[in-house]
């Protein structure tokens, strides 16, 4: 039992209630033909929404009772932010820049977030890995990956 009301627990409880409401609203808004009325596509979403509502309320109750244990240990939010941002930038750069440059950027961001400061080593390994993945998958497995700015050169 902790001494303070857990803010994380509060947000998780509220988040669950919001998801429950969204699923419930979506289910109510469905226009279901009469033939399917009894065992139609609405029953399960309503059950899931109700379940999420219940666990959401129960989470809030345990938080209010200060009975929401959270693992201690200091969280490096900066490193977390760098990696999350790296992934987000990667998915935005993939089409315009191409698989290899975007992948290299992701590789560098992830290894930086995990504490590596050997930029040259990481850059070379990253470049080799991403290029090998690109050629392996496009040439041998027949996948289509965006060439981007390297279009024509590759």
């Amino acid at each position: 039992v902790t001494t303070q009301i857990s803010r994380a627990g509060l947000l998780i409880g509220l988040g669950l209630l919001i998801i429950s409401a969204v699923i419930g609203y979506d289910a109510v808004m469905m226009e279901v033909p009469k033939v399917h009325a009894k065992v139609g596509p609405r029953v399960f979403p309503v059950l899931v929404a109700a379940g999420l509502g219940i666990v959401g309320v129960m989470t809030l109750i345990t938080v209010n009772r200060k009975d929401f244990p959270v693992a201690e240990g200091d969280t490096d939010w900066r490193a977390f932010g760098i990696m999350a941002a790296g992934l987000f930038v990667h998915l935005n750069l993939l089409k315009p820049l191409g698989f290899i440059p975007a992948g290299l950027a992701l590789f560098m961001a992830v290894s930086f977030a995990l504490g590596s400061r050997k930029y040259l080593r990481d850059g070379i390994i990253g470049f080799l890995l991403v290029s090998a993945a690109y050629f392996g998958f496009t040439q041998f497995l027949g996948l289509q990956l965006p060439a981007g700015i390297l279009q024509g050169i590759l």
Binding site: K38, G73, H90, L91, S111, A113, S116
Partner: protein, 497 residues
């Protein structure tokens, strides 16, 4: 056809050069990913799904099963030499195994783990061979109502036994079920939780969720925890040939670990974690010199390492005969069956006997390959442990995003991956178990289909679930799993007063 004839037929399938090759690929890859922290069998099979779509299903499943077995072998090496488990099934192995390595008995720890895995894997596969035909006969009694009730039971057990609390298990199960709802309803064509986005009509691919929760969530969690980053790899010291004393202290824990692991794998309890813990505490209790536990007792390695391999064999029983996944990896394997339009259960044994029995036979062969790969070649694998964690996770994320993008060449899937990855991070940070989410996602749509089929047959009368005796028993069992422990506690406090 008797089980023996069927198995011999299976050996004929598994022993073809191409299938032997698939088995070798599977066990090698399995050892590799078992060894490397951050990448496990569920994630690897999910990433392989898009690439294996056009493969012969028999070869693909032989590879997947070898991979699942191999991961259990490989992860013990990491636990023993690095003190961080390669997989969750080897968490307890680190307790005694790493202590042994520190005392210069690392080789003996690796040997008892590998031989114990071989013994348990082989005995477990034997039990699978004998039990599968019996389970298939039992499965013939199942109609839609019974299947639905069985899935409800699986949902309740999986939420009750995993994670810090039942509430947290229930939260992730429901989130998994919610993700499974999204997309076009198969029976009516009704779009659900699509929010007007055309890309959402085909639903959320299982690969996106598995990769998001396992790879992205795990990498983000590792970034957030500075204290988990550095670890010391110990060299293998001592002889790989166990002494007479080490043999005599190992063989009973191997057999006990097998006996604990196999049934627990077959129960919907998330696979390997619980039986390994149980095996550890059993060995501690039965040991002649319990004071050695915590300082490198070989029994504490032999038992749990046998238990996790036996559990994997156990997992395959309900998966192949009933289509019921009891662990996250089994859930992904079920998705693989769906990819090939195969339905695990009695029909699979009848229509695709070659595949099932070839798969089971390949496990015997794979176990022998794994013993060779892991014992004499242990020194080669250990070098992989010196890959810096930063490069390891960077590589995992490159292949994860590549795998997800290649599903349908869509950036939208990468956006979903990002969101699911953040959810996966939150689950780890706040101690919510991941396995119920994966099982809910895969089993949810199947449960819904059986639920609606049962109600359609009964013309909308919901009493089918309680008038069919088997369905009633399963639902009562589910009820007991949820209410039982609470009632038991109340009774205990009442009696104590």
């Amino acid at each position: 056809v008797g089980a023996f004839d069927a198995l011999m037929q299976g050996f004929a399938t598994a022993a073809t050069p191409i299938n032997l090759l698939w088995s070798l690929v599977g066990v090698t890859l399995g050892t590799l990913i078992g060894l490397l922290p951050g990448i496990g069998p569920a994630l690897t099979i999910a990433l392989l799904l898009p690439v294996t779509r056009k493969l012969d299903p028999t070869g693909a499943f032989i590879m997947f099963a070898g991979l699942y077995y191999g991961a259990m072998y490989g992860s013990s090496t990491t636990s023993i030499l690095l003190n961080t488990p390669g997989e969750s099934g080897s968490i307890v192995t680190a307790l005694e195994g790493n202590k042994m390595a520190r005392k210069g008995r690392g080789a003996a720890a690796l040997a008892t783990a590998a031989i114990g895995s071989f013994v348990a894997g082989t005995l477990g596969t034997l039990a699978l061979t004998l039990l599968a035909p019996i389970f298939v006969k039992f499965a013939l009694l199942f109609g839609p109502a019974e299947y639905f009730a069985l899935m409800v039971l699986a949902f309740t057990t999986v939420t009750s036994v995993l994670g810090a609390s039942k509430l947290r298990g229930a939260v992730t199960l429901l989130l998994g079920l919610a993700l499974g709802l999204a997309g076009t309803d198969i029976l009516t064509g009704q779009p659900r939780l699509v929010f007007g986005l055309p890309s959402m009509l085909r639903g959320i691919d299982i690969v996106v969720v598995a990769v998001g929760l396992f790879a992205v969530g795990e990498a983000l969690f590792m970034a957030s925890r500075r204290d988990l980053r550095s670890a010391e790899v110990l060299p293998i010291k001592g002889s790989l040939f166990m002494t007479r004393e080490e043999w005599s202290r190992s063989w009973k824990p191997w057999l006990r670990g097998t006996a604990i692991g196999f049934p627990f794998g077959a129960l919907p309890a998330g696979g390997t974690e619980i039986p390994t813990f149980l095996s550890y505490f059993t060995e501690k209790k039965l040991a002649k010199n319990p004071e050695e536990f915590g300082h490198g007792a070989i029994e504490g390695v032999a038992g749990p390492e046998a238990a996790n391999n036996a559990a994997v064999a156990g997992v395959l029983v309900p998966l192949l005969t009933l289509g019921l996944p009891t662990s996250a990896t089994a859930a992904i394997l079920l998705a693989a069956f769906e990819q090939y339009n195969l339905q695990p259960g009695p029909q699979l044994f009848q229509n695709s006997g070659d595949l099932v029995w070839g798969l089971i036979a390949s496990l015997y062969i794979g176990n022998v390959m794994l013993l060779v790969l892991n014992l004499p070649l242990a020194g080669v694998w250990v070098r992989l442990l010196s890959i810096p964690q930063s490069l390891l996770y960077a590589g995992i994320l490159i292949f994860s995003t590549l795998g997800v993008y290649s599903l349908s060449n869509s950036i939208f899937d990468l956006v979903l991956l990002w969101i699911v990855g953040l959810i996966g991070f939150l689950m780890r940070r706040y101690d919510y178990p991941v396995a119920p989410a994966i099982i809910g996602l895969i089993l949810g749509p199947l449960a819904e289909a059986q639920f609606r089929r049962a109600l359609t047959i009964s013309q909308g009368d919901p009493s089918v679930f309680v008038t069919h005796p088997l369905s009633l028993i399963l639902l009562l069992a589910a009820f007991c799993v949820v209410v039982g422990p609470v009632a038991f506690n109340r009774l205990n406090t009442y009696l104590a007063r």
